[in-house]
């Protein structure tokens, strides 16, 4: 597929040694990245895609490195993606599912960080239910830290994989119009995506019932809509968000049935977007709640591509960060 190379800073050839040093110690937030760093990461990720597609899926640049996946929240998709990414790069990967047991035992996050730090990992991938928790942990350890989702704050690798998927399908990112629909208030994916897409000159729209729109969202998105049809008009990309079930049944919305009627993506609503619009979803999906199964599995859907790009992006991020971790 045609690629827009106008803003590229380096040529992806499949080896991290060909890239300039990535000048970040951690990946905590898209807000920390400059535009050229975002593009650099996307290029690096693209170079990693063939590694996953070849028969021998190995590119052992991280041989001898230790990666700890520290997940305080259950996550099959993201944790698995980071695990595969680390292993394909030859790292020793250890998964730690902490859930809330450390808290119930009276151990603070900072204590956990000190314990892990003593194991001398090279990178820690962290998911936590509290916004800012990953940042706090990063201040207490000596290695690189990757934010794999912190509360309703950010999920930077998700935004990067979304951007890579868009770039692969549209041939460019800059100048497109992207609509993000659903539970905007409680989504970490939204924040990272709005920051990243904004940095790449994308016109961003958010679409949600008013009570799922957080304060000040109009300063983060180009446009804000409460009507799906208006919001989807002529967009290039439709990103659907998962509705968390605890918000349904009269708490934030009256019912799943009503939500699907007005905010679920079906063929009728999707027809308002451009004919070649692509449909994305960070997963896991609630088919029949925020998205019609026919759309989720239909020709416009690039959802499985997102998963594949997720591994590539995480390989790229690990590869980019670890030299910085070494030099610290």
């Amino acid at each position: 597929m045609a690629q827009d190379r106008a803003s590229k800073t380096s040529t992806p050839v499949g080896s991290s040694g060909d890239f300039p040093p990535f000048n970040q110690r951690h990946l905590l937030s898209i807000a920390d990245l400059k535009q050229h760093e975002i593009v650099d990461l996307l290029d690096r990720a693209e170079a990693m895609v063939p590694v996953s597609r070849q028969e021998r899926k190995s590119h052992p640049t991280l041989s001898g490195k230790t990666q700890i996946n520290l997940f305080f929240e259950p996550s099959t998709r993201t944790q698995g993606s980071f695990e595969i990414a680390g292993k394909r790069l030859g790292a020793l990967v250890m998964n730690m599912s902490v859930k809330s047991s450390s808290v119930s035992k009276g151990e603070t996050l900072v204590d956990t960080a000190a314990t892990l730090n003593a194991m001398r990992p090279d990178v820690i991938v962290v998911r936590h239910s509290a916004a800012g928790a990953v940042e706090l942990l990063s201040q207490k350890v000596g290695c690189a830290v990757i934010n794999a989702g912190d509360g309703a704050h950010e999920h930077p690798t998700q935004a990067l994989l979304d951007a890579l998927t868009i770039r692969n399908h549209k041939g460019r990112i800059s100048g497109l119009t992207v609509a993000i629909c659903g539970d905007i208030a409680n989504s970490r994916v939204v924040r990272s995506n709005l920051l990243l897409l904004g940095a790449l000159n994308v016109r961003t729209r958010v679409i949600a019932p008013r009570n799922l729109l957080p304060s000040g969202i109009e300063h983060l998105a180009t446009e804000v809509f409460t009507d799906m049809r208006e919001g989807l008009k002529d967009v290039d990309v439709v990103m659907m968000l998962r509705l968390q079930h605890e918000r349904a049944n009269g708490r934030m919305i009256p019912s799943v049935r009503e939500y699907y009627r007005f905010y679920g993506l079906d063929a009728e609503k999707l027809a308002f977007a451009k004919p070649d619009a692509i449909v994305m979803h960070p997963g896991p999906m609630n088919r029949g709640v925020e998205i019609d199964p026919a759309i989720a599995d239909g020709p416009a859907s690039v959802i499985t591509d997102q998963v594949e790009m997720g591994v590539a992006v995480r390989m790229a991020v690990l590869d980019a960060l670890l030299p910085a971790g070494d030099s610290a």
Binding site: A130, A131, E154, G216
Partner: protein, 430 residues
């Protein structure tokens, strides 16, 4: 009996009388015996003489909202360590919130605290009594007995009474004893699990917001109930423009309603949270700069009556957490005056107005004889250097907890001597 103490060559600033002039004060037996403006006082035989060298002599500060760890959580703060911090900060009296373990909801505990404070604290500790048993917001405490035991006011501390009918009953009954009801206004259902001011910054940080209406809606209710019952009502701490408007309107009709503000809401705003700095996680939350400007104007025009430290010692275990999971609160006794003087140095509020909110106004609201430089008043006084530059450093903190919102802050204004009941309890040493 202590020696008479003469403080001469001072710049006497007393908001009770609007005085700002050179003069001298004579203290005898813990009481202000004589005040001379613009004229010397003869040195009584055997008197200790302090040459103030032009430093400001003002009434000692009266802090209306201080949480202690004692009883129950002495590792956070004792009456003694709070007293050390208060003396260093120029606070000669503080109202101790009832949020302790056990809760101060019984006359015997008030009596104990007064005796304990006299034995261990350098400054006057004024216990506030709980409005409801166990601060549970369900059953009234024994207001009359608590007052007899020495409670200076009624408050549920950091808790807010949600039941309108209970609050009406509380206010009506408190009026029997002339006790001021000090109420933290917060609508629990609107506050929810919010952790900072609702707005763009909360959205960027991915944190749940607390709308201003969580404060203004219960405040509007309280002010109507205060008018209905005729009680003395003090909104413990307001933080936003809407609350200033409500207070200003209420004060036109009802002279017995007053409002306080935390120095944090005057000196800081939500931007100070930066990247999840949990020492700035406070209840009431830090608001926007527009709100801060509105409350400064409220202080300037008298809509806001008092400034307090909201001193709330919390140990590192509960503060060293992700922002949303960290406890609310910051210490503030030692920095109260200097932080308030930021408003003076910035030209936002004049010195008399700032000091009034920490001396005579709290005294009037609580019915205290202190808070003024007048013959016969308790000799609770401070000498301070308005311009003395210093930087807040964790190692210098006297509180047992270190959770200050002003860590590293550069401040101007330092207490050089603190006198409580005619006795010097703190002198600054370089």
């Amino acid at each position: 009996m202590t020696r008479p103490l003469l403080i001469e060559n001072a710049r006497i600033v007393d908001p009770a009388t609007g005085t700002d002039a050179k003069g001298a004060v004579l203290i005898e037996n813990g009481i202000i015996a004589e005040v001379a403006i613009g004229a010397p006082i003869g040195v009584p035989e055997g008197a200790e003489v302090i040459n103030a060298k032009g430093l400001i002599l003002s009434p000692g500060l009266i802090d209306m909202r201080v949480f202690t760890g004692e009883p129950g959580k002495e590792y956070r703060e004792t009456l003694q360590s709070a007293g050390e911090a208060a003396a260093a900060g120029g606070v000669t009296s503080f109202v101790m919130m009832p949020d302790t373990t056990p809760v101060v909801d019984d006359g015997a505990l008030v009596d104990f605290l007064i005796r304990r404070a006299k034995a261990t604290s350098k400054v006057n500790v004024l216990p506030a009594a709980a409005i409801t048993k166990g601060l549970a917001g369900q059953e009234m405490t024994e207001f009359g007995l608590l007052q007899e035991a020495g409670a200076v006011c009624l408050t549920d501390g950091r808790h807010s009474i949600q039941s309108t009918s209970l609050l009406r009953t509380v206010m009506s009954y408190a009026a029997n004893y002339g006790m001021t009801v000090v109420h933290h206004v917060s609508d629990k259902s609107l506050t929810g699990d919010g952790v900072m001011n609702d707005g763009l910054f909360a959205t960027i940080l991915g944190l749940k917001g607390i709308p201003r209406e969580a404060e203004t809606i219960p405040l509007a209710r309280d002010l109507q109930l205060a008018a209905l019952t005729g009680t003395k009502y003090h909104a413990a701490q307001i933080s936003c423009a809407g609350s200033v408007e409500l207070m200003a309107a209420a004060k036109k009709r009802n002279k017995s309603v007053t409002a306080g503000i935390s120095i944090n809401n005057l000196a800081l705003n939500e931007n100070d949270i930066g990247r999840y700095r949990s020492f700035f996680k406070l209840s009431t939350p830090l608001r926007s700069e527009d709100d801060r400007q509105a409350v400064i104007e409220g202080l300037r025009n008298g809509t806001i009556d008092t400034i307090h430290s909201d001193h709330d010692p919390q140990d590192t275990e509960v503060k060293r957490q992700p922002f949303a999971e960290a406890s609310d609160g910051a210490i503030g006794l030692e920095t109260l005056l200097a932080a308030a003087l930021r408003l003076v140095h910035s030209g936002d509020v004049d010195l008399l107005t700032v000091l009034r909110a920490m001396t005579i106004r709290p005294a009037e609201i609580l019915g205290l004889a202190s808070g003024r430089i007048a013959k016969g008043a308790p000799a609770d006084l401070i000498l301070f250097d308005l311009d003395y530059p210093w930087q807040v450093s964790e190692k210098d903190i006297r509180s047992r907890s270190r959770n200050t919102s002003f860590e590293g802050a550069r401040l101007a204004g330092k207490v050089m001597r603190t006198i409580v009941g005619g006795v010097t309890v703190h002198t600054h040493e370089d």
